[in-house]
Symmetry: C2
Subunit: 310 residues, 2 copies
């Protein structure tokens, strides 16, 4: 069974990816999966791998996390991120944090250097300073595209739903390393034109993320408020505990969210044996997976391309 | 079955209640349960009832929520609160909020007046101002006892574990109204001497609270970081979905948290038929329940006193 290990699966957000951005989204998740897979192949831990993948996506302006995050109603960037270690069930998260390049790395420091699981807003910034993490100007995180979409949504004839569509959700990764340890990491700029201080599902353990070596790991993307209503990450894990495959458990969770609270989203899922799935109920989700020297990726429902990793 | 309705169950925090404070804790939860029960008897909703109970406990300086909250490492009060409506699965929460008397009422406004489920820190304060909620001086929330314990814990020979014992956890309530609608509310000052910006399990849906008309409602107290690791609220609900009684599901959840992550806590639980439980793995938990004109209450394991409600 364990000859399937190691594996990493990456998601770049569920929703609608405009055509002119779809190629960059695909190449972004593929690059993140490759970088994380190199760590696993070198004997690195699943936690190191998901950190590498999500840092990669945060640094890529195409995605709604780190640089490229959507703007809140005031035109500012406030970000949420989490990591969870399936071996200990320990986690670290930050919410509504500003002026740092890589919230997911700060989340890991919360897990490793404090007795807490989540720090928010100015408290998270203070901790970042104490840890020697450089403050970056907000301008360095804002892309032209983000500012354009924010402005569009302030127009009197704006269609907030349509504005929301262009860039939804989060970025995230799940992995299993050679030892069978699972981990997940998720990071986001949240919802376009959100209120100041809005916290979504991402930093909430059991909603946007969960990892447990006895069951597997998941990272969720989609409409945060819907994901929270059904605590989707934990729900998918329960289906796996009851014997469902990674694919069936993911689909059952997403179908429940659709039928119960009319919410759409996507998920990447692994089990401790290295089985993996990338599933979504939204129109698209950029995803990539790396296992056995093969890179898998897709964007639309049913798409599954492969290429070899040298 | 529904002749058991309505019911409300209240908890005032798990942990160790010093002898000189045990009487006030008991009378506090009993008063909160009575006030909430009067609302249910008058035909009020379960949401109104849990709000009444938790507001009552926030206003009571004996409990670690609202006035009487523990102080963080800087000597400030930052509070977390949540409400959840079992009919819609909608919820509202605030985290690390300062200078308001009743965080649970602000949490309800987040649910009812925004499209979000959680607002944090300064964003939550701004929303409170927009809603016309008066800002109160921090001094009005700090009790002599809280300040004394904070100072004790700064002493060079302080025993942080012992300091933590005196006042742990949260306050919370669950209820079912005549229509069979479930609701929960939880509020806390968090952990003594916590870092600035620390967020615990309370505002995290599925960790400290959950309500679903198809299953029931729970409000959790105890060591926040342990509760989050196992997403305890959702776990107890899963046991109920699988046919366990409110009591058995609560005990199974608490036992799992003890065995898996060595965490202690307590819970109040209802199902939609009006069955209820108040269970804890800590030494004590002040609790009270009101149903069929009878008030039930207890503090130590196995205690169950009753008196009639006129």
């Amino acid at each position: 069974m364990t000859d399937m290990l190691p594996v990493v699966v990456v998601q770049g957000g569920a929703g609608f990816v405009p055509r002119q951005r779809s190629e960059a989204s695909t190449s972004g998740v593929c690059a993140a999966a490759r970088a994380a897979y190199a760590i696993l192949q070198g004997g690195g831990s699943s936690m190191d791998a998901v950190l590498e993948a999500v840092t990669n996506l945060e640094n890529n302006p195409v995605f709604n996390a780190g640089c490229g995050s959507v703007l809140n109603v005031k035109g500012d960037i406030e970000m949420d991120a989490i990591v969870m270690d399936g071996k200990t069930l320990g986690s670290g998260a930050v919410s509504a944090v500003r002026n740092i390049a890589n919230p997911v790395q700060l989340a890991r420091l919360v897990m490793e250097k404090t007795s807490h699981a989540c720090l928010t807003a100015e408290g998270a910034s203070k901790f970042a300073r104490d840890m020697g993490i450089p403050e970056v100007p907000q301008e360095s995180l804002i892309t032209e595209y983000s500012r354009m979409r924010w402005k569009d949504n302030l127009e009197p004839d704006a269609n907030p739903v349509q504005c929301q569509m262009g860039k939804m959700g989060t970025v995230g990764a799940v992995a299993v390393d050679r030892e069978g340890n699972t981990a997940c990491a998720t990071s986001t700029g949240g919802m376009l034109n959100k209120m100041e201080g809005r916290v979504g599902d991402t930093p909430m353990i059991g909603s946007g993320s969960y990892a447990d070596n006895k069951v597997g790991a998941v990272s969720i993307t989609g409409h945060g408020e819907a994901i929270m209503k059904v605590a989707l990450a934990r729900l998918i894990m329960f289906h796996m505990e009851q014997g469902q495959s990674v694919e069936a458990a993911s689909d059952l969770g997403l179908a429940y969210m659709k039928s119960r609270v009319d919410g759409l989203g996507g998920v990447v899922t692994v089990d401790p044996q290295g089985h993996w799935a990338a599933r979504f109920s939204s129109l698209q989700m950029a995803w990539a997976a790396a296992q056995k020297d093969t890179l898998h990726h897709g964007l639309y429902c049913g798409e599954h391309f492969t290429q070899s990793i040298d």
